[in-house]
């Protein structure tokens, strides 16, 4: 609703007022009508104030129409001055306004009606009269009524029309929106589905790409469709040289015939296959693969391609091979051991038989001289039994690392004389000449006299057994630099090169028992070798079949420093009687792995060995996994670098835990000989020895 409505209503009210005033006359105008018109005017004023939207509603318009019609009609009827003609006319105008479609037409009809009315009045009272008649005021009134209602009804219709149209548009929009929404939902679902599929695809393709297996996909035409990164790396063939090629590609990989044929035919037949095959690598080493081929079916059970997956099992194959070798070796050792048991039982039972025989031959009634022979025989056999048992026990000690070596200064000249002497009569009865060449001027050496006597005795006794009548045996000691070499040489049967290799093996003789009669348990040389090793030296053998053999080893000359060391060692040994050995780990960080610089490590180890006896060399793994039971020394040949951090970390962990008591078996202590122990100015040994002594002293403090 707009200003037009308000203006038209003003006009209506004014027109009505004029009609009523004219008809009734101002003197007899009833106050009730005045109030009514005042209310109408005030209500129209209120429309000015009301917001425009309120006025536009059909309710307000409708109410206004009904109210206005009622009070105007009521007012007209109440005057009683209007004829029935006028009311017909009035209602006709109202009717016209109500049914009229167009405001202009309504106006036109009303103008015609009014004109007709004027003419009608003019006919009855004359036109002069008519134009001045009071009744003429009714024309503009009717006109105003017609325009007002016409306008209102038109508005109402327009409003209705507009609302209907709007509603229609809204409905149509709603329908379109719904259609769109549906389409959107479908699209969303489609997009999600695609995303899921894509994700899935990405996952599998990444899995294949980054798999730790070699993956190859062969399509239905037996052409390679895909190979992953690892395939390229291991085969050394870029994927573009493989993809699109046929199955002949396998022959390029150096796979041997038969297994390859099986695999290729399984791919051709679209069947499952599993197998192991070696690839020959560029450096001619073998790469073992465990290969499986499996056909991939679509959801319609149709085979779409074949996936070939291969795993690198080179390590496993290597381990298997090593195990096989170890197994054979174990089996051999088992046989050797079994032979050894036979031999030992023979060695023990022979003297026992002699003793039993002799005992049963002793006649208590006979003269003592008659029995004496048997008694001597019993003693001799008992001694022999004792000797064999000692050998076995020594072997056991050596094997379990319990053999102790207590070095002291030994004068070889007089010492060897004492060792050789008991053999002179034996050599004489065997018609073998025994020579000793050991000068009294030889310097003192560092050795455990008891153990070295055992070694030399064993070597001479072996030489006597191996030397036929008329042969010669030479026992000698010669100085070379800061060591003295002790050797036992014979002109006996000698050893073949193969036997020389095995001669130091425990049970060696036992293994050949049926071919030749063994002398002793076969452990003598093994024990000798280990005793000499315990001195930080090696037992060397030179021999020629039919010419003779020479066994030799060297012992260090006692120097001023060595004398100090002996003192230190003897002192610490009493302190650490329960742990008479050291564990040594030599690490060279320059080489980035434990015991890298082999020569230097060996030197360090040997140098330490001379100082601290019974060193047990350990690899890093063993060292970290099995805590040392005694004192342990870690020798770092250089400063740890970046690359050595793993070693460093493991070492640090071991050091941290093992500085405490180990297994309740006494204090274990670990010391790191840092780069200070690294040889400087060509003085290899001194630094190390100083550090080693320091370790001993510190250990004492900690315990």
């Amino acid at each position: 609703m707009d200003r037009g409505f308000i203006l038209l209503r003003f006009m209506l009210i004014i027109a009505t007022s004029c009609v009523l005033l004219v008809e009734i006359g101002p003197d007899s105008f009833p106050p009730a009508l005045l109030v009514l018109m005042g209310v109408a005017l005030l209500s129209n004023l209120a429309f000015f104030v009301l917001p425009a939207e309120r006025l536009r509603s059909s309710l307000v318009i409708g109410a206004t129409i009904i109210c206005d019609t009622m009070w105007i009609t009521a007012a007209l009827i109440a005057t009683g001055k209007f004829s029935a003609d006028f009311f017909y006319l009035y209602f006709f105008v109202l009717f016209l306004a109500g049914v009229g479609q167009n405001i202009r037409l309504i106006t036109l009809s009303v103008v015609i009606i009014c004109a007709s009315y004027v003419i009608l009045i003019g006919r009855t009272v004359g036109f002069d009269q008519a134009l001045t008649s009071k009744a003429l005021i009714r024309v503009p009134f009717l006109f105003t009524v017609a325009v007002f209602y016409g306008y209102l009804v038109n508005r109402l219709r327009g409003e209705h029309h507009r609302v209907t149209k709007e509603r229609e548009i809204i409905n149509r929009l709603e329908r379109s929106r719904r259609v769109l929404e549906e389409a959107n939902t479908t699209l969303q679902a489609e997009v999600e589905k695609r995303e899921r599929i894509e994700k899935e695809l990405r996952k599998f393709s990444r899995a294949a790409e980054q798999s730790s297996n070699l993956v190859m996909i062969i399509d239905d035409d037996e052409k390679v469709d895909f190979v992953n990164q690892l395939f390229e790396e291991i085969s050394g063939i870029p994927s573009e040289n493989v993809v699109g090629r046929g199955l002949e590609i396998f022959t390029k990989l150096g796979v041997p015939g038969e297994v390859l044929d099986q695999m290729v035919s399984s791919i051709r037949n679209r069947s499952e296959w599993r197998g192991e095959l070696p690839l020959r690598q560029e450096d001619n080493s073998e790469l073992w693969l465990s290969v499986s081929t499996s056909p991939i079916r679509s959801s319609e059970e149709e085979i779409i391609n074949t996936v070939v997956i291969a795993t690198d099992i080179t390590d496993r194959v290597k381990i298997e091979r090593r195990l096989t070798v170890a197994n054979v070796e174990l089996h051999r050792l088992g046989e050797v051991k079994s032979n050894f048991v036979s031999t030992v039982s023979h060695e023990l039972k022979s003297p026992l038989t002699a003793i039993k025989n002799a005992v049963s031959l002793i006649d208590p009634n006979a003269e003592s001289t008659a029995n004496e022979k048997f008694l001597r025989m019993i003693k001799r056999s008992a001694d022999r039994l004792n000797f064999i048992i000692s050998d076995l026990l020594d072997m056991q000690k050596v094997e379990s690392g319990k053999l102790t070596i207590v070095p002291a200064a030994v004068h070889l000249g007089s010492f060897l004389g004492e060792v050789v002497e008991p053999f002179e009569s034996q050599a004489e009865s065997a018609s073998v000449e025994l020579f000793l060449d050991a000068s009294d001027t030889l310097p003192e050496v560092l050795a455990d006299a008891k153990r070295i006597e055992q070694v030399v005795t064993n070597l001479i006794s072996n030489a006597l057994k191996a030397t036929p009548k008329g042969g010669k045996i030479f026992v000698s000691a010669e100085r070379s630099d800061d060591a003295v070499t002790v050797s036992v040489r014979d002109t006996g049967i000698g050893l073949s090169p193969e036997d020389q290799k095995d001669v130091f093996d425990a049970f060696f003789q036992a293994g050949n028992v049926l071919a030749d009669r063994p002398s002793g348990t076969g452990l003598g040389l093994t024990i000798c070798r280990d005793l000499v090793r315990g001195h930080g030296s090696n037992l060397h053998l030179e021999s020629e079949l039919g010419v003779g053999s020479r066994f030799s080893f060297s012992l260090p000359v006692v120097s001023e420093r060595a004398a100090e060391i002996i003192a230190f060692e003897n002192e610490t040994r009493t302190k650490f009687r329960r742990h008479p050995y050291f564990t040594v780990l030599v690490i060279d960080f320059d080489a980035d792995r434990p015991v890298g610089n082999e020569e230097l490590s060996k030197y360090v180890f040997e140098t330490l060995h001379k100082v601290l006896h019974h060193l047990v060399p350990r690899s890093l793994d063993v060292f970290c996994d099995q805590p040392a039971q005694g004192r342990a020394i870690v020798v770092l040949l250089s400063t740890p670098r970046e690359g050595g951090w793993v070693v460093k970390r493991r070492l640090a962990a071991t050091l941290a835990t093992n500085l405490f008591e180990v297994g309740g078996r006494g204090m274990a202590s670990l010391k790191v000989l840092g780069p200070a122990a690294y040889p400087e100015d060509g003085d290899y040994g001194a630094g190390l020895i100083d550090r080693a002594i320091l370790v001993g002293e510190n250990t004492e403090d900690e315990s």
Binding site: S338, N339, V341, S342, T343, S345, H346, L348, K349, S350, P351, L352, T353, A354, I355, K356, N357, A358, S360, L361, F374, M377, R380, S381, V513, L514, D516, R517, P518
Partner: protein
């Protein structure tokens, strides 16, 4: 009846000595050998009635000596079967040895294990000689 002749083969001088004394006390004539070749020679020349053969001998071991004697018998070298008692100190857990001892290889008449009782040994000899 003349005394039975027994060849005693062992490389251990003490065992050889004591067994010899025991056999002589039992009134046997005793020959001795300290290795396989000596024993074979003695068997061929002296034709003992019984051979007491140790297994662990230098050179030819007891099994092989026994086998050679048996092969010679098969070839008709001897006009009678030799009585052989093998003496061993070795344990018989080893299959090979069991085979050598009891199989076709050595074919001894009896086996005696060291250390033995002299009385027991003498009884075995007597039994075998009277067969």
């Amino acid at each position: 009846m003349s005394r039975s002749k027994i060849l005693l083969v062992d490389d251990d001088p003490d065992i050889l000595e004591t067994t010899k004394v025991a056999l002589e006390r039992a009134d046997y004539e005793v020959l001795t050998a300290t290795n396989g070749l000596e024993a074979l020679g003695s068997v061929r020349i002296s034709r003992p009635d019984l051979i007491l053969l140790d297994v662990m001998l230098p050179g030819e071991n007891g099994y092989r000596v026994a086998r050679t004697i048996r092969e010679d018998e098969d070839a008709g070298v001897y006009d009678r079967r030799n009585r052989i008692i093998l003496v061993t100190a070795r344990d018989l857990s080893n299959d090979l040895e069991r085979e050598e001892l009891f199989g076709d290889f050595a074919r001894p008449d009896r086996v005696v294990y060291k250390p033995f009782e002299l009385e027991d040994l003498l009884q075995q000899i007597e039994e075998l000689l009277s067969e």
